[in-house]
């Protein structure tokens, strides 16, 4: 285990505020009863909260809509201006499930083909995770091995654990370490007692989960479930809203559009979050090969539990955050579906 520090809880705001001149500091905060990430320039960080914002922090690397470049032709000459975002940012309070999601996106956007837009944002952002003291309402991260406490398979620069009056802070990267060093006076070295306390919180939290999923049984069931009637049955109410993809911390599909300005002199290429649940998905290539909603739901589950692991050394593609259930207007419930699969012989 890497080195551990202690930060007095009352010092967190001071620590983050001191970063504000150099970074856009982003923190979870409540707005009309809803948790979301906000800039500390106009929000106080929420410190003792359970759960996570409904929209995951993936949007800081892969926004809902992103202007990629502007292009124009003038007198037969084309000009292109790329919009690479290099804003320096610190995000505090990212839950382990979302840290895992970012790691999964890294393996998509930063592997063989490096996506320069994602890369620039990712490289300029410091991730400060926050472990969960209690399970969130719909979460099953403990079954996915993605939470409620982060490990090396989650992406983080610093990782905070709420011990009551203090935070235990684990250093995950050089960049994280440097930030602590710059404010060394705020931090103390953690004792064994404090580390034990953290372990105890983790143990208790893991026992409190309402939902558990047998990952291995689900994976095994999927080898035989291709033609199962469950896909049609579970997808029959889907209204094609796209929400389950939009809020999924590991979904990365996007669509690209060229938006002409009013006088059609300049165009901007914009990419938008897309959804494999929509009938028109991949239509630009020809048409959607998955014609029915049953096929599209099947795709979503196979992708997370079979295709992603096959591509990424067995790493599961679902963070267990439960967001796709929460956001679904048709009450399509991922733990229910995984439960059916897990019970199959």
């Amino acid at each position: 285990m890497s080195e551990m520090k202690i930060l007095d809880k009352t010092k967190l705001v001071e620590f983050l505020e001191k970063l504000m001149p150099d970074f856009e500091v982003t923190v979870p905060s409540y707005n009309n009863g809803n948790l979301s990430f906000s800039s500390m320039a106009h929000a106080r960080p929420e410190i003792d909260f359970a759960g996570r914002p409904l929209v995951p922090p993936k949007e800081y690397f892969f926004p809902q809509q992103e202007e990629m470049f502007t292009f124009a032709t003038k007198e037969g000459k084309a000009t292109i201006k790329a919009h690479i975002n290099k804003d320096k940012r610190v995000i505090w309070g990212i839950r382990p499930c979302d840290l895992y999601g970012i790691k999964t996106l890294d393996s998509v956007f930063l592997s063989r083909y490096v996506d320069s837009y994602y890369h620039a944002r990712r490289e300029n952002t410091i991730l400060m995770g926050l472990n969960c003291n209690e399970p969130c309402e719909a979460g099953f991260c403990s079954s996915m091995g993605t939470g409620p406490f982060a490990t090396n398979s989650n992406a983080f620069d610093l990782l905070f654990t709420n011990l009551g009056n203090q935070f235990l802070v684990e250093i995950g990267s050089k960049a994280g370490e440097e930030l602590i060093e710059r404010r060394a006076n705020l931090f103390a070295t953690a004792s064994d007692e404090e580390k034990n306390k953290s372990n105890e919180i983790e143990k208790q939290c893991k026992q409190a989960f309402l939902y558990s999923v047998d990952q291995d049984r689900v994976k095994a069931a999927l080898t035989k479930a291709w033609d199962d009637p469950l896909w049609a049955e579970e997808s029959k109410n889907c209204i094609l809203c796209g929400g389950c993809n939009f809020i999924c911390p590991t979904c990365y599909c996007f669509n690209i559009e060229d938006i002409a300005d009013e006088h059609e002199q300049n165009s901007t290429r914009v990419r938008y979050w897309d959804s494999c649940q929509l009938g028109g998905y991949t239509q630009m290539a020809a048409e959607n090969t998955r014609k029915t909603q049953a096929e599209r739901l099947r795709q979503r589950i196979y992708d997370k539990f079979s295709y992603v692991p096959a591509r990424h050394n067995g790493a599961i593609g679902c963070t267990g955050c439960g967001r796709c259930t929460e956001v679904c207007p048709s009450e399509i419930n991922i733990t229910h579906i995984l439960g059916i699969l897990g019970r199959q012989k």
Partner: protein, 677 residues
């Protein structure tokens, strides 16, 4: 990024979400988990439907017609021109030669101000809006039976009903977050009855699906009532204690034996009996209906039949139990509440009532007209006969939305003067003499009233695009040019005036709305609002509910040898009404890029067409060409066309056959023929 909490601009569910704003552009949407209806969920329109806000096609300056073109103009010049022209027409032909169409897409404050402009500044009750075309029959039908033309219950209550009867509502597509409650209820064990000539998505989870012929709703419900009365499933105590008129009703429905009803509706007698039993024996049965009930020449009859069914079984006035018309537009409930109707002031206070009129005369400082004005549909004929010379339209597009568009076009072209206030140069705006650029919901403050009677805040997220101005501001400025001064620092003060004059809104203020929406009636500042109506007594004068004996009348234009198919029109979940907003978004357009006609495989074989072939559909009034979608979810003999698509406008085919009372057109039934295109 700034995140601004607001209310969805599309349907009457009234979902809330946050708009994410960067550099005065809406760049993101965040659902709102704490909102009781949306619960962090949205349909695709809520997620993706807002790109039109930044469309390059947005109107950015006022436009004045010059020959067959428009030229850009200043606000001042436009106001002066409009004011002069309207004054002149008023002097020559009287106030009633001017009509105003308000908008159920606009805010309550804007609807209030526009009806005030019509009544106080121009002096006419010729003010109406598209509620005429969707739920005017509800407003009248439920007012006569219950005393209040709105949903009796709140949306979240539906999830706890034990029987849900959906008639004439494709809920999953048109009111997705109401469908959510139905799905929850069914998952919790509720029984679901669907009556619809098409197999809608909810039929997949229905206990029973009654596939009745379009336009036979009165017969179907009379048939169910026949079974309920014959089998003694009525609620005697409720009927005697809380209603009047049961005798006449009993006599009428006695004629509708299951066998006879079956012959009229095409629904097997056993299914009618089963559905009647399920509905009548539910502890909290809730009826949900939409335009399948209202858009008929028997629209008011259909609505009153639903009320009959509920009252005879005592299924109204309780939590999760009642009659729930789903209002389509984001603010069609509010536009009606605000008196954008030809016969009532805000809060449904009759213009013909001397005492009420005097109250408004005193508050507004002018003499007001007492004669009810022209409806949207009635006004069209008055344009043609020349008795109405000028029309001011805010945010409506009758060239796509009204029945029999060829007739509509003829009518609008007869006008001496047409002003259109909109965000796009719509098919209607193209006919105008002056076009004023209003703004989208993201550029102004205000309130919408959702279908569950809930008044909710709309918050300004970005500055107006170009030189466009908030619609409320345009109305006040125009009014002042007309010589009737309107001055409000912001929409909040407009709401304060509404509250003073409208008993059901008396307790509503922007301050209170910060804590979430309020359902009317909300009669005082400490009143929590009213989630469900008619608890101890009906809001009808005298407090009793009224049962009506309703004979069955078939639709006006039935198929015949020349036009052998019945056309029914409607909507799809990916588009909104005349498509001016949703057809500008890549995701929504990608789902459904063009118009289509749904046709049964047997009929397709008869016409000689395959799936995706082009067909020509014609009626006595016009013809359109569009793609065939061959599906087995529609009855034989029936075809369905959504009305969103200007280039294949369903309303070129529909007829302006009107309900005699509500003057709502029979969009759901007309006769057409199909040919290979």
């Amino acid at each position: 990024m700034k995140k601004v909490l607001t209310t969805c601009e599309f349907c009457g569910c009234g979902c809330n979400f946050y708009l994410g704003v960067e550099n005065n552009r809406v760049v993101a949407v965040y659902p709102c988990p704490s909102h009781p209806v949306s619960q962090g969920k949205l349909c695709i329109k809520g997620w993706r439907g807002h790109d039109y806000i930044h469309s390059p096609e947005r109107l950015k300056t006022p436009l004045i017609r010059q020959g067959d073109k428009f030229r850009e103009a200043s606000w001042d010049e436009s106001y002066k021109l409009i004011a002069n022209k309207l004054q002149q027409i008023k002097e020559q032909h009287g106030s009633d030669s001017i009509a105003v169409f308000s908008s159920s897409k606009c805010t309550n404050e804007e609807n209030y101000l526009l009806q005030k402009l019509a009544r106080a500044a121009i002096g006419t009750n010729n003010i109406d809006q598209c509620a005429r075309l969707c739920h005017s029959s509800t407003v009248i039908g439920l007012a006569q039976t219950f005393g209040s033309g709105a949903m009796t219950n709140s949306i979240p209550e539906i999830g706890n009903a034990d029987v849900i009867f959906v008639i004439g509502s494709n809920t999953s597509e048109q009111h997705p977050l109401v469908a959510n409650q139905i799905i929850k209820a069914v998952k919790g064990g509720a029984k679901l009855i669907i009556a619809d000539p098409r197999q809608i998505q909810l039929t997949k989870i229905a206990t029973i699906h009654l596939s009745h012929k379009v336009g036979t709703d009165v017969a179907l419900i009379n048939g169910m009532l026949n079974v309920i009365i014959t089998e003694g499933l009525i609620d005697k105590k409720f009927i005697s204690g809380r209603t009047e008129g049961f005798g006449a009703l009993r006599e009428e429905v006695a004629k509708f034996t299951p066998q006879k009803t079956s012959r009229i509706t095409g629904v097997p007698a056993e299914q009618i009996i089963e559905a009647a039993r399920i509905y009548a024996t539910g502890k909290s049965s809730s009826i949900i209906y939409a335009m399948g009930i209202t858009q008929h020449t028997t629209g008011v009859d259909n609505v009153m039949s639903c009320a009959n069914l509920a009252m005879v079984t005592g299924n109204v006035g309780k939590e999760s139990t009642g009659v729930n018309p789903l209002r389509g537009q984001n603010n069609v409930q509010g536009a009606c509440d605000m008196g954008a109707l030809p016969n009532v002031f805000p809060g449904y206070q009759a213009v013909a009532n001397d005492e009420l009129r005097q109250k408004f005369e005193k508050a507004w400082g002018v003499k007001l007209p007492s004669k009810p004005g022209a409806t949207v549909t009635g006004a069209m004929n008055k344009f043609i006969d020349g008795s109405i010379k000028a029309l001011y339209i805010m945010g409506e597009n009758p060239m796509i939305s009204d029945p029999d568009i060829n007739h509509t076009e003829k009518a609008l072209k007869k006008l001496d003067f047409l002003v259109v206030q909109d965000i796009f140069l719509t098919e209607t705006a193209k006919l105008a003499h002056i076009v004023l650029p209003g703004v989208s919901f993201a550029e102004k403050d205000g309130t919408f009233t959702s279908t569950e009677r809930k008044v909710q805040r709309v918050r300004k997220a970005i500055d107006p695009i170009g030189e466009s101005r908030p619609d409320w501001k345009i109305i006040t400025e125009l009014s002042s040019h007309l010589g009737y001064k309107m001055a409000y620092p912001s929409p909040s003060e407009v709401m304060d005036e509404i509250a003073k004059l409208t008993p059901s809104y008396a307790g509503i203020s922007y301050n209170r709305l910060e804590g979430g929406g309020l359902s009317w009636p909300c009669p005082s500042p400490d009143h929590p609002g009213t989630p469900y109506l008619h608890k101890e007594k009906f809001s009808r004068a005298g407090g009793q509910g009224k049962l009506f004996a309703i004979p069955y009348r078939p639709p006006v234009e039935l198929p015949d040898a020349n036009y052998p198919f019945t056309l029914t029109t409607g909507r799809v979940g990916f588009h909104w009404h005349t498509g001016t907003m949703t057809r500008k978004d890549w995701a929504l357009n990608r789902e459904i890029p063009e118009g289509f006609v749904e046709i049964n495989p047997q009929d397709a074989a008869k016409v000689g067409i395959r799936n995706k072939a082009t067909v020509k559909v014609s009626s006595r009034r016009g013809d359109i060409s569009l793609q065939a979608k061959v599906v087995d979810t529609i009855q034989e003999g029936l075809v369905f066309i959504p009305f969103h698509f200007a280039e294949a406008a369903a309303n070129k085919l529909t007829a302006a056959n009107l309900d005699p009372v509500a003057e709502i057109p029979e969009y759901k039934v007309c006769a057409v023929k199909l040919e290979r295109g």
